[in-house]
């Protein structure tokens, strides 16, 4: 099979994996070839608007497992291919020289056994690192069930490792990926966390010893193939962050590729809005010090489709506001809807020179559309009162409407009192409807 055909098949079968960024491993060029940027770097954007940073491929899409949600499952009839180690190494290097990519993201189906598969991947990476002296970024997937020795070897070759948790609960994993056990997934995760930590703490005399997964580990779970609530999902994510020192948890909206009685019907639209809300919540947990329990609860287990999680929190915690931009500490400023870390930084900086009014805030680039209802400033010592309706209107996420109203049906609308998908026709109507519903809810 020629390289073009292999690349087509193996890129196509890797495309649903979301855990693909190149950040977290700043490294200068030195004697080898290439370097990495700590901040990550997008080399292109594909037609779906996602950042292309790495050559994202499977080593092979042959697989002995039969995970029901996966197009490469053993029982599915699809064209199969496998790279040769030297082919993949050359391709990576040639793409990198032309600045097409920042490095390689390598995952794989399971051939013969987890250990056999890992050995193949390791061979390819060894060629890239040692023969081509490549110092760019490599993210590799550890195969659940592989032996610790091989996971360790892989960690010395890659900047980041990940093991996909796949399903948000053990029950769903049993149902949909019967050959993968929770333990087989968590064991390498724990090993990677420990290896990474140890490597970070190694004293400077070992500086030349190869580092173990410098950029840490990540994982991904599939959203919408199984019945878990948003609350369950973010609680799991927050647990993973703290127990396994994960750098990122990625959420991947389930896109049906195979008909299966255990899964959503083949024409089900991917729950993109829900995935978006989960990323937002994840971001709030990592960057804004929100806890999962602050964002959702057993009583409201799912995010509001019309509001981003931060606005949702604000609406349910109105007693915290208004916040005085000229006096409030960083953490409190961060909780104001419409004010992000960059705006907070600018406010803290600018207010050292004098008391800030609305115009000053505008000039330093703080967007006031939402924030104005929640702040006090020099020329508005008592805040701005424009009524709940105006406030609610400002808080509604226009993205929710343009994501398509069909998206809303992915949520349990009965619990939130929101209109179902059939009720609204135009954008205008959708916004009005949302305002009314939210007002009723506050």
């Amino acid at each position: 099979m020629d390289l073009m055909r292999k690349l087509t098949i193996l890129a196509d079968s890797a495309k649903y994996d979301a855990a693909c960024t190149s950040s977290g491993a700043g490294r200068a060029g030195g004697r080898g070839f290439g370097n990495t940027l700590a901040a990550g770097c997008c080399h292109s954007f594909s037609a779906d608007g996602r950042c292309i940073s790495l050559l994202k491929v499977l080593y092979t899409n042959h697989c002995i497992y039969d995970c029901r949600y996966c197009a490469n499952r053993a029982s599915n009839d699809v064209p199969r291919a496998a790279f040769l180690p030297q082919e993949l190494a050359r391709l990576t290097i040639e793409f990198y020289r032309r600045n097409y990519i920042e490095g390689l993201f390598l995952s794989s189906g399971v051939v013969k056994s987890p250990d056999y598969t890992m050995e193949q991947i390791i061979r390819a990476l060894e060629l890239i690192r040692y023969q081509h002296n490549f110092r760019g970024y490599i993210h590799a997937k550890a195969i659940p069930g592989a032996s610790p020795g091989l996971v360790h070897k892989l960690g010395l070759l890659a900047d980041r490792l990940s093991v996909n948790i796949e399903m948000p609960s053990e029950l769903s994993l049993k149902r949909l990926a019967p050959q993968k056990s929770r333990r087989a997934i968590l064991t390498p995760m724990a090993q990677i966390a420990a290896g990474h930590k140890q490597s970070e703490q190694e004293p400077a005399i070992y500086r030349n010893a190869p580092k173990f997964a410098v950029a840490g580990q990540a994982t991904q779970m599939i959203i919408g193939a199984s019945p878990e609530s948003d609350y369950q999902i973010i609680r799991l994510a927050s647990g993973l962050y703290s127990q396994y020192a994960l750098k990122r948890v990625f959420y991947s909206a389930y896109i049906p590729t195979v008909e299966d009685t255990l899964l959503p019907a083949i024409d089900t639209k991917p729950p993109l809005l829900r995935e978006h809300r989960l990323y937002q919540a994840d971001w709030l947990m990592r960057q804004y010090h929100f806890t999962a329990e602050e964002l959702l609860s057993e009583q409201t287990p799912n995010f509001n489709p019309y509001l981003d999680p931060k606005c949702n929190w604000a609406i349910h915690n109105l007693h915290v506001f208004p916040v005085d931009v000229n006096a409030a500490p960083r953490e409190l400023l961060l909780r104001v809807p419409g004010i992000g870390p960059e705006s907070v930084r600018r406010i803290l900086y600018a207010r050292r020179a004098g008391r800030l009014g609305l115009d000053d805030l505008k000039k330093i680039g703080v967007v006031l559309k939402r924030a104005r209802y929640f702040i006090l400033c020099a020329d508005r010592p008592r805040g701005i009162h424009m009524g709940r309706e105006a406030m609610t209107r400002a808080l509604i996420d226009p993205g929710a409407i343009t994501f398509g109203t069909e998206q809303l049906s992915m949520f349990d609308t009965a619990g939130t009192g929101l209109p179902g998908s059939g009720d609204v026709k135009t954008m205008q109507e959708a916004v009005e409807e949302a305002v009314l519903c939210l007002l009723a809810g506050i």
């Binding site: 997008c42 037609a47 779906d48 978006h276 971001w283 992000g340 000039k363 330093i364 994501f403």
Partner: protein
Amino acid sequence: MPFGRNLTAAAVEYMYDGGLPGLYSCIYDCVYADEMPAHIRRAGETAFGLFPQKEVATDERRALRVRNAIHDKISPAALELVETVFYSCLKDKELHILRFLLLGFATGPAVMRMPGDARVHALKQAERHFWREQHLLLGFIRFTDYEGFLAAAITPKNYALPFLARHFCERYRHESFMIYDKTHSMALVYKEYKPEFVRLEKFCFNPPPEKEESYRALWKQFYNAIAIEARVNLKCRMTHMHKRYWENMPEMEDALLPGAPPRGAPSQIQERSPRGITDGALIL
């Protein structure tokens, strides 16, 4: 130096050679003549002849005095801001810089904490635009391999080459390469571990060798295969990767052909919102 006071508006245009010491000399002269000129132009720029022109000869000694004054009397950060904005595409950047400096000499280091002031704001904005374009270019530059020599063309709005040089001289340390900035007719040539900037007025690349075509084809194929059809979102792509970068990117070549269907967008697929669905980074 009598810096730090306002200048009297004058119906005159200053001209300088286009370099940073030239501009500093110009600023020195403005201050000593107590003139706030209507324009400061680089030599060669078309003037409309509305005002009499004063040509300022570059004086290294005076330039250094201005530069040191910025560093000592305002702050090193202010100097960095000014020198970044000098390479940016801010319209009338010379006058903006002059106004900022007058304010800075009057207020001292505190000027950097006054982003609300229009004079500071203009520079900050230009600086942000500059770095944003820089960052995007690091990823969007495409090299062609001419049998061992890598060559790339860029068409940036800001003068980016010195900053790109740092990154690529390290990344491709053991290679030879050039980056040709068509907008500013300048090229960075890196050979035998030495970077060099050369002026290149008109330059045409040879057609790429055959092997090159095959890697381009592989890259395009990868680019197309990696997009998820059920998530196609051309607006989102456009906000992240503006069309003006496409001309130098092989994967976007076909999308630029007249009448071509936008790549990866079969007609039955609807566009979705331009807001990021990739990351939470867009929430505020």
